[in-house]
């Protein structure tokens, strides 16, 4: 934790921006550079920055979820997206898609998206789990 007014003030501004940016990167990942890994890393950076400015305890509080739980949930998402394929009678992790039209635009929703959410969660959980535990020991 670094006790600096400038860092803390900047963090307040950057934190939200980074989170939004992370989700933006995640969703555009299928068509433009981005995706679960990159989005996850940006998301983790947001909380890491917060942890440096305000300490890991505060950062954990706003994260709400335990990093370990995020990892578990992420792996569950990854495996679940594969199980869906099995239940549909295709090999494990074969992409399955639906194309609902919402508000006039056709959306492409598929199991790879669920899988990517899993990747996102694991990357965030991993990074934060490591940073928190290294920062908390004192």
């Amino acid at each position: 934790m670094i006790n600096s007014l400038i860092l803390r003030t900047a963090t307040k501004l950057l934190f939200g921006l980074l989170l939004i940016f992370s989700i933006f990167l995640f969703f555009r990942g299928h068509n433009e550079p981005g995706g679960g890994f990159i989005g996850g890393l940006v998301g983790a950076t947001a909380f890491a920055l917060f942890a440096i400015a305000y300490g890991p305890k505060k950062s954990r509080e706003i994260l709400k979820l335990d990093p370990q739980v995020m990892i578990g949930a992420g792996l569950l998402f990854g495996v679940a997206s594969g199980i869906i394929s099995i239940l549909l009678g295709t090999p494990f992790l074969t992409g399955a898609w639906i194309f609902p039209v919402i508000g006039g635009t056709e959306l492409h929703l598929g199991t790879p998206l669920i899988f990517d959410i899993g990747v996102y969660l694991v990357v965030v959980g991993f990074t934060l789990g490591v940073i928190f535990s290294l920062e908390e020991e004192k």
Partner: protein, 772 residues
């Protein structure tokens, strides 16, 4: 069927929560699962009993011909019904037996996991699928046998069972893969239809030996039979389930399943019948050398497994008919008797018959169940066990070769079984009352309902064999023999040789029981137990210790304990080996420098080289980290310049987090003060530079070869059309190669837990130290 197995696995994972809610009624509640599955399998009873075979398949790894495919014929239905039926009773029993146990939730969960895996074994129609479930049963049974993990005996018995069945599993894997390769298919149905290909294949003997190693170790055949009595360290519900009807029968199931493809040859007959007959005789009499009820039952199970193996080895009609009936009969009475032994142990505080007697008045229901089950075990009419034993005798008598030897072995072994059934059902319950560690009284409902139902089933099917003979038993025999079979069973065949032999067996068995106390303590019996019970076990232990000693010798000889020496050896050998291969095989030509190079690209590369060298030369960790950061960001620039935006973004982010992490840790660590000798520096520099040169040369050689772009082009063409994504890199990650990525995030997860526990556990230790 896939759904049935999946549901079982899911319920298993959810069971701890059920236990939390249902508390003392957990056994009853969780028993609904196997009960439901039992009902589900019963719906196929008519259809399968009439000779139909139900197949079901979903692909798993189609590229490797691995499918989650299942088949339900008489054989697998018999086993599925035993697994779910006895499973229901065992779960109820376990709920009572382990009532209030701290880890009841864990216990029931593993028990259900085992059940699900066992269902997988008997239903699989794919060799690899079968193998995976097979190994799952080994792992779960390891956890169950070693459940009382604070006891040294439990841990070592569990490990012993795991090592032996695991070794067999390894052999089995080899055998099954060879079999799949020889037949050109991994589907069991197809293999059974083309048995002559396997039998005439040059690999046949190899396949046979490997598969038999798997089956024999699982089914505790002589000389590795000793793991089964050892496994009695498990809580009794486990023995009642795994060691009567399921786990140990997986081996004979495999033999029965593959009989149409592999059986009928001379090799099969001699090996399988031989091992079965020896196991039968050895196991039967070993049961009489002990006073521990569970041990007596375990050895008589060894005898029964030997009998079934022998029958399948003989392979003629009578033998396979006998096997089908005997499997069911044995499962019913042995499951019941194991539960009885557990109830006695639970209520009286001991299961050593030397300290038991007169319990009949205190535990009347248990005593009655024990008596009925023991009648079946002793092969006395009108029980199913009687029909089974008659068939065994008939099978032995009608063997084409060695009939006289086989019938003598069968009669001798069964005499011992009659005596052991008397030991189990008479000694604890009749005679004068003895003072037991606990004041005995009747077991709760949950603990007598299982033995009562199982014993009653043995009686009902014995009296009314028409319930199963033309349907289940005939269909099972059809599956084992591969030939359409249908027959009736009956209790009375008139006075014939098997009946006369049965009477002889019964009378001699009772005579043996009469003199049992003297017999057990006689030096002949003690010597016999040492030679056939303890000696194989001692041999196994000696082998294991020898292996450990050898491992220790190796460690002392090769492991210096210094990391930098290991590193030097590994890297040096790699460089040397690769360099030699390159010199001998590759034809290196220095490529032309004629492509276009931009000045800024050269600057970035120079920056990379300089920062790497700066990291090497850095005297403090912080300087090194700074240099590393510079290196990482220049690599990101390379990725940007050469059309890899995803990589560049990832690299920048990872580099940032790397620097944060490194800074967090390294500020807390003092400067390293290690000064290397000049000689060491030169040596290291030499290894390092040769490694660098080697990599450059290799890269240059690779760059001059042709690059196969077909895969990348396929991704480019289909990424949007098939996978609905325009960012090809991301589509590869989450779709085309998703299983790779799944592996990767699993690794990340494992690494995170490793790191967190490394740091957290240390901190907790520290805190405790401070407090104390």
């Amino acid at each position: 069927m896939l759904t049935a197995i999946l549901i079982a696995f899911i319920v298993a994972l959810a069971s701890p929560f059920v236990v939390k809610l249902a508390k003392d009624y957990s056994g009853w509640v969780l028993a609904l699962l196997p009960a439901g599955l039992f009902a589900y399998f019963m719906t196929s009873y008519q259809l399968v009993g009439s000779g139909e075979v139900i197949l079901e398949s979903s692909s798993w790894l189609p590229g490797l011909d691995v499918h989650l495919s299942f088949l339900l014929d008489g054989l697998s239905l018999t086993f599925a019904l035993l697994i779910t039926g006895i499973g229901t009773l065992v779960l109820i029993y376990a709920g009572g037996y382990m009532k209030g146990h701290r880890y009841l939730d864990r216990f029931l969960m593993i028990l259900i996991l085992f059940m699900a895996s066992m269902l997988g074994v008997v239903l699989s129609d794919n060799l690899i699928g079968l193998f995976i479930f097979w190994e799952l049963t080994s792992v779960t049974s390891y956890l169950l046998i070693g459940f009382n993990n604070e006891k040294e005996e439990s841990r070592s018995s569990a490990l012993q069972a795991l090592l032996i069945t695991g070794l067999g599993g390894l052999a089995l894997m080899g055998g099954l893969i060879l079999m799949g390769l020889s037949a050109g298919t991994m589907s069991i149905t197809e293999i059974l239809n083309s048995g002559e290909i396997i039998r005439e294949h040059p690999f046949y003997l190899g396949i046979l030996i490997l598969v038999l190693m798997g089956a024999f170790t699982k089914s505790a055949q002589f000389p590795v039979h000793f793991w089964l009595p050892g496994a009695m360290a498990a809580p009794t519900p486990v023995s009642a389930y795994l060691h009567s009807a399921t786990m140990v029968k997986a081996g004979v199931y495999l033999l029965a399943r593959l009989q149409p493809a592999m059986g009928g040859t001379t090799e099969w007959f001699y090996i399988v019948t031989g091992f079965g007959a020896v196991t039968m005789l050895v196991g039967g009499w070993l049961a009489l050398a002990y006073t521990d009820l569970k041990r007596v039952l375990a050895y008589s199970t060894v005898m029964a497994l030997g009998t079934i193996t022998m029958l399948i080895g003989m392979g003629h009609d009578y033998a396979l008919k006998a096997a089908a009936v005997f499997i069911v009969g044995h499962s019913l009475y042995k499951g019941a008797l194991f539960m009885v032994a557990g109830s006695i142990d639970h209520e009286a505080g001991t299961r050593d018959v030397a300290y038991l007697g007169g319990l009949r008045k205190l535990m009347p229901i248990t005593a009655a169940a024990a008596a009925i089950a023991a009648l079946s075990m002793g092969g006395i009419p009108p029980m199913l066990g009687f029909i089974g034993k008659e068939l065994v005798y008939e099978a032995a008598l009608s063997a084409t070769t060695f009939a006289s030897i086989l019938i003598i072995v069968a009669v001798l072994a069964n005499i011992a079984v009659v005596a052991s059934s008397a030991i189990v059902a008479i000694t604890p319950f009749y005679g004068e009352e003895k003072k037991t560690p606990k004041h005995a009284h009747e077991a709760p409902v949950s603990m007598w309902i299982g033995p009562v139902i199982l014993a009653a089933m043995g009686l009902i099917v014995g009296v009314f064999p028409s319930l199963a003979d033309r349907s289940l038993f005939s269909a099972t025999t059809t599956a084992i023999s591969g030939v359409e079979t249908s027959y009736y069973l009956s209790l009375w065949h008139g006075i014939n040789l098997p009946l006369i032999l049965s009477v002889v067996t019964l009378l001699s068995g009772l005579a043996v029981f009469k003199i049992w106390n003297n017999l057990r303590e006689s030096s002949a019996m003690q010597g016999y137990a040492r030679a056939f019970g303890d000696f194989p076990k001692a041999t196994y232990e000696a082998l294991l210790n020898g292996m450990l000693k050898f491992a220790r010798f190796q460690i002392d000889a090769f492991q210096s304990g210094y990391l930098h020496r290991y590193m030097g050896t590994i890297i040096g050998v790699t460089i040397f080996g690769t360099a030699i291969t390159l010199l001998l095989k590759a034809n290196f030509v220095w490529p032309d420098f004629n492509d276009h190079i931009n000045a800024y690209e050269v600057i970035v590369l120079a920056l990379m080289i300089l920062s790497a060298l700066a990291a090497v030369a850095a005297k403090s960790a912080l300087k090194a980290i700074t240099a590393l950061g510079l290196l990482g960001f220049s690599i990101a620039l390379v990725y940007i310049m050469f059309s890899a935006p995803d990589l560049a973004i990832t690299q920048v982010l990872v580099e940032t987090l790397t620097v944060i992490l490194a800074a967090l840790v390294l500020v807390k660590i003092p400067k390293p003060v290690i000064v290397d000798r000049a000689g060491a520096k030169v040596r290291d520099a030499f290894i390092a530079i040769s490694g660098g040169v080697l990599v450059t040369v290799m890269l240059l050689i690779i760059l001059q070869g042709d690059l196969d772009l077909s895969l990348s082009e396929y991704f480019g063409e289909t990424s949007y059309v098939l996978a609905h994504g325009r960012n090809i890199v991301n589509v590869i990650l989450v779709d085309y190669r998703a299983i790779d990525t799944l592996g990767e995030i699993i690794v990340l997860g494992v690494a995170a837990f490793g790191i967190i526990s490394l740091i957290k556990l240390y901190m907790n230790d520290k805190k405790e130290e401070k407090q104390s």
